[in-house]
Symmetry: C2
Subunit: 210 residues, 2 copies
DNA sequence: ATCACTTTGTGAAAATTTTCTCAATCATAT
DNA sequence: ATATGATTGAGAAAATTTTCACAAAGTGAT
């Protein structure tokens, strides 16, 4: 199972496979062929097989794929069997929404703390966690072995906070701020630019309106 | 300026160009060459020029691109000069976060109403708007000429609500539910699958951990 | 055990996307 | 006015991604 040479396009599709396989599992379906999955997901069967074969042969001729097994394997590829400790920086609505999102825990992403620079937010309880002041950031990261930080703060603050996080060795940043963060090679950033997404919708709406 | 034959890969990059041009505008920079922009954005100058030339020649030899003009043109391509009326279905933390996000208004996306099925949420004020019961959905859409619905509800509810929305002629759905919605051809869906994004981060973290 | 059928994995072809290259054009300084 | 230098737009080449096609391998019924 080679890694590093696999395109981000393939990686981007893996969570979707994982999601559909979860659904199939929930429905008690034990096996599925690439052809059936392709009809379900509206992608070609070829692409499914090609994508999966980047990581190994998970299927069986004449049978198809075992749903449970494939679900688990993709989870493994995505690293969902690893445990991650998160903090959320920015305890506004978005930060609180993410803190309350139970499914992340199930996938091994455990939120350990929330931070906010607003003095009025200090001590407010969110999902049994007190909102902490930014001054405690560095110590907390060390004490709780935090490896991922979620940034739900305005862009200027995000740049500053990212610097602090990087200096104390954070590995991953899940960035919701409206800016692309420049980070060293040994830090991974995943951006969620909600505005970009809305603009894409806007573009695709244009030809409906004449 | 042909449309419809432009790949989604190109479309996906336009909001990012738009964002960087906004930054340049804010910094008072009047002109930029594709080479300078490429250094800033970490993409090739070729790609920038090729992307833009899908829609027309916005630059000038020996000069580069006028920041203001290009910003406006991309905004136009993305349809940001059109007005859209939104409703948000699901007034939890995420729905409230989006309702309070001021920048959407600036881009022509005006939130007109919030809906929630929880009786305890009825009448709660979010950004000067009362949370409404789901029973009022259809009438409200007609009365306020709503063209986009934002779904910040669980997946089972999302499927049901999407059906209702489609029946009363919604044009766009911005879907935050953890499921791919099947919609007719004349409806545009833009999915924001936060879990997928987190899984991508998870994958990219793997090779940092040995 | 055999046979007809299904379905994967994979090499090759096709399609698409990205990068390269450079003539044409414009800016700017003198 | 002219010359020098900068930079685009676009055609061609290269690289990448997706799809095709089919041999090989397994299923399941008889």
């Amino acid at each position: 199972m080679e890694r590093g040479d696999i395109s981000q396009a393939v990686i981007s599709r893996l969570p979707r496979y994982h999601r559909f396989l979860s659904e199939l599992k929930d429905q008690g379906i034990e096996r599925i062929s690439s052809a059936d999955l392709s009809r379900l997901m509206h992608v070609t069967a070829s692409q499914i097989r090609q994508d999966l074969n980047n990581f190994g042969g998970f299927g069986q001729q004449g049978y198809g794929y075992n749903v449970d097994y494939l679900h688990e394997e993709i989870g493994h590829i995505l690293g969902l069997d690893k445990r991650h400790n998160l903090i959320i920086v920015g305890a506004g609505n978005l930060g609180q929404a993410l803190a309350n999102y139970v499914n992340f825990d199930r996938r091994g992403f455990h939120t350990k703390g929330l931070f906010d620079s607003d003095p009025h937010m200090q001590g407010v309880m969110v999902r049994n966690m007190p909102v902490r002041p930014m001054s405690e950031l560095e110590d907390f990261i060390k004490e709780y072995s935090i490896d991922i930080a979620v940034l739900t703060i305005p862009k200027d603050a995000a740049v500053e906070v990212a610097d602090r996080l990087i200096r104390c060795g954070i590995q991953g940043i899940w960035n919701f701020a409206h800016i692309d963060l420049d980070v060293p090679e040994n830090v991974r950033v995943e951006n969620v630019h909600l505005s970009d997404s809305l603009m894409k919708l806007s573009y695709n709406l244009r030809d409906l309106e004449g």
